[in-house]
């Protein structure tokens, strides 16, 4: 049955009811409009309905779509008679099925009221005294008299339903969709907001971090009052407010190879909005092994990269592109890189777009590619990527060999205490990072990471070293690297010089 139709024969309510039946629904509400024997004091003998069918059907379908979106009901339909009707005959039928009764009643009421006020239908009343007259149904209802509760004002998706690629069926697909978002930071915030606003039915937020003051410039979902609170918890509360029709699940911890598989099993696809390579590869492995699409993005200063993985034989995964999962800290320069809010916001909005396309069943892109954006120079390159024959799409261990990061990090209360430990301190910050009055100027060895990476530094292997950088990210990466090269007594200063 079409969402809105005209019929010149009696309305088949049984067929209408059948078309709305759904085991997910716990309620079914209907309204029937009958031809009565009087109107405004005059006895009526019969009625004649006429409609401008092309326009009326379009408007009728729009009203049904609005009711579904506005009240979050599962299904709705309306059928209207045209032509001659006798007393007692059914002139209009509205049916709604939904999980719960209250929205079924509300949506049913909305449809009949809006049909009567907006759809171009005229009725000619034939009176008992032989007279007759046309009555435009516009008189029958006052627009805007629906109850103004929070639930009913929640959302109106009509502006996206109006798109031919979305429509009612697409909106239903979004409502049935379940998306897991890893990271609720600069990328995750727009992803979460646009998915919730578009009516994605179930969203999971995974983030183990708390809101920090330095996040706010690029994560405007959070406010100063949220500082110190779990990002996932705050984001979930905002999304519930943004769209009470959806459900939001919180995973307030970092995604790891140990927990992600269990989480992802309950979702249709995963969005990687994390800020580190280790997590991105964990996300890739979970998506590939469970056969779910993944939408990746990363930013660096003014640049961003976007890549979609689809579970298809010919489609490259993240490891096809980066066979040597690079270590965090060895690429880029940790916390100093800097970023302007619109850069992750742009990439996050693009991720949300790709997610909606996947949920809607639209083509995601003509061919697999890594899209590279430079928002300073305003370049966008789509670099075609192919399945790497050397990649078997199977998960691999990220930490090679399984080393215990804790055993590689040492914590000291002061720089003096570190110096007194007997370890040789090695400052790997670049020259431009060191101020002239830097307390770390007392450190004997300054060997920038970039020099190490060129492979020209030869440290005595039997030395005992404490590697130091600004925040402890690069120093840990280099420590891991040196350990794997056979330096047994290299350590990283926990938290870097910023810890003092």
């Amino acid at each position: 049955m079409r969402p809105f139709s005209f019929t010149s024969t009696p309305i088949d309510t049984a067929a209408g009811r059948e078309s709305l039946a759904d085991r997910a629904c716990g309620g079914y509400a209907t309204f029937e409009g009958w031809v009565r024997d009087h109107n405004e004091g005059r006895a009526v003998r019969r009625l004649e309905y006429e409609a401008y069918a092309a326009l009326a059907e379009r408007e009728g379908e729009r009203i049904v779509a609005e009711a579904i979106a506005r009240y979050g009901v599962q299904h709705a339909a309306c059928s209207h008679r045209i032509g001659d009707l006798a007393l007692g005959e059914m002139a209009v039928w509205v049916g709604v099925s939904s999980k719960h009764r209250s929205e079924a009643f509300a949506a049913c009421r909305y449809i009949i009221d809006e049909i009567k006020s907006r759809v171009p239908i005229w009725k000619k009343e034939h009176y008992v005294d032989g007279d007759s007259g046309w009555v435009n149904c516009e008189r029958c209802a006052q627009p805007g008299e629906h109850e103004h509760t929070r639930q009913q004002h929640a959302h109106d998706y009509s502006r996206q339903i109006a798109l031919p690629e979305v429509g009612l069926a697409g909106q239903q697909r979004l409502r049935d969709g379940a998306v897991l978002v890893i990271g609720a930071g600069g990328l995750g915030v727009p992803v979460l907001q646009y998915l919730a606003a578009a009516g994605v039915g179930r969203i999971g937020i995974a983030d183990g971090d708390i809101v920090e003051a330095s996040n706010l410039h690029r994560q405007p979902l959070y406010g100063v009052g949220d500082i110190g609170t779990s990002k996932a918890v705050v984001a979930a509360a905002r999304l519930r407010d943004l769209n009470p029709q959806g459900t939001v699940a919180v995973h307030a911890e970092r995604a790891t190879a140990a927990n992600l598989g269990d989480w992802l099993a309950r979702y249709d696809l995963i969005v990687d909005c994390s800020d580190n390579l280790a997590t991105k590869f964990v996300v890739n492995d979970a998506a590939v092994s469970l056969g779910k699409p993944a939408v990746f993005a990363s930013v660096y200063q003014y640049e961003g990269q976007l890549q979609v993985y689809l579970p298809r034989e010919d489609w490259p995964c993240l490891r096809c592109l980066w066979p040597e999962a690079p270590r965090d800290g060895l690429v880029g320069n940790c916390a100093q890189a800097g970023v302007l809010g619109p850069v992750p916001a742009t990439l996050g909005a693009m991720q949300a777009m790709q997610v909606l396309k996947i949920l809607l069943g639209l083509p995601v892109e003509p061919a697999p590619a890594l899209h590279v954006f430079d928002l300073l120079g305003m370049h966008w390159r789509s670099l075609k990527a192919a399945r790497n024959p050397g990649c078997d799409h199977s998960p691999r261990d990220l930490q090679r060999p399984a080393v215990d990061a804790e055993a590689m990090e040492l914590e000291f209360a002061t720089l003096a205490a570190a110096r007194a430990s007997g370890l040789t301190l090695v400052d790997i910050r670049e020259a431009w990072e060191r101020a002239s009055d830097d307390p770390a100027a007392q450190i004997e060895w300054h060997l920038p990471l970039s020099v190490f990476m060129q492979g020209t530094v030869a440290l005595p292997r039997d030395g005992r070293y404490l590697v130091v950088c600004a925040h402890g990210v690069r120093s840990l990466a280099l420590t891991e690297h040196l350990r794997s090269l056979g330096y047994p007594t290299v350590y990283s200063l926990t938290g870097g010089l910023a810890a003092f």
């Binding site: 990363s298 930013v299 990476m453």
Partner: protein, 80 residues
């Protein structure tokens, strides 16, 4: 000698001090070209951590270069 357009991203762009340049080179492959650019700009990333694309398509480091090719060196980025 062939003229190639080179494009840099992320940390390579910072180290090169530009996002794009045209070079005239004897390099026959992206690998040779990266060596050459590394010496010129002091790139710190080893080739093993990068990917290269020629004419908007990822390829091997040993793919032969042709005049007027457009070569992009891409490091992985992780910010979010």
């Amino acid at each position: 000698m062939r003229t190639i357009t080179l494009q840099y991203f992320a940390v390579l762009r910072e180290q090169a001090g530009c996002s794009e340049e045209r070079v005239t080179t004897t390099a026959a492959t992206p690998a040779e070209l990266y060596d050459e650019a590394s010496r010129k700009h002091g790139f710190t990333l080893p080739m093993s951590m990068l990917r290269v694309a020629v004419n908007e398509e990822f390829c091997d480091w040993s793919t032969p270069l042709a005049p007027n090719d457009r070569v992009v060196f891409i490091p992985p980025v992780a910010g979010g």
